[in-house]
């Protein structure tokens, strides 16, 4: 537990570069579209209101997101199944 509580504090200091707002927004939208009864919609609306300006242009994230290649990891790493 001590290790985890220090991670929460240290992680943003060690890795300050992140764009997880877009990933979170993308996840909330996907979850809401798959099951609108979960209650995700309320948080989605809250997030969109809070970060309205930042969410106007997610083209950078979408570009990288779309470029990510799915691979067959067993073959890719040369491992046997």
């Amino acid at each position: 537990l001590e290790r985890n509580s220090s991670t929460k504090v240290l992680f943003p200091i060690i890795f300050p570069d992140y764009i997880n707002l877009y990933e979170l927004h993308s996840g909330l939208k996907t979850a809401h579209s798959k099951d609108s009864t979960l209650g995700v919609g309320v948080k989605l609306v809250e997030l969109e209101a809070k970060y309205k300006d930042s969410l106007k242009d997610a083209s950078g994230f979408e570009k990288v997101d779309a470029s990510y290649k799915k691979v067959d990891y067993v073959a890719h790493l040369g491992l046997s199944a």
Binding site: L1, R3, N4, S5, T7, K8, F11, P12, I14, F15, P16, D17, Y18, I19, N20, L21, Y22, E23, L24, S26, G27, L28, T30, A31, K34, D35, T37, L38, G39, V40, K43, E46, L47, Y51, S54, L55, G60, F61, K63, V64, S67, Y68, K69, K70, V71, Y73, H76, L77
Partner: protein, 141 residues
Amino acid sequence: MLERYLRLWDNKKSVPVQFAANTLYVMERNGMNDALDEYSHILIDILKNKSEFLHSEGLAISLWALAQSGSLNSDVWTNVFEKNLSDKKFGHELSYIDEVRLTPNQFESASNSYFSEGSWSDFGKKLFYQGIIPYYLPRLH
């Protein structure tokens, strides 16, 4: 590899919660559906037991992974995400990187926190980079 790692932890509650978030994310990002089917319940249990220790990055990527894979149910949503999302801040900055040493595979960011792909072993490069660098965009000159 994941199975061997998890076997090292007699008590699964001792596994760092960020490990669970990262692993779910990597598996979903790379389409490792068999591994997700087999291990997601263990990783989700870790998230539920230790959700209070997740930082914003962990919350964002694990939510993204579970939403994409269709594994997000009301229990996980309520106990992991709904109660923890409100007090977190989420970033939106893109980090631009510059090449160093005139090579196409070594970069540095303004904060110098980027771990250069060029310094990784061939196995590490294959495992983490796949020839692209997620979330880092080359600076346009």
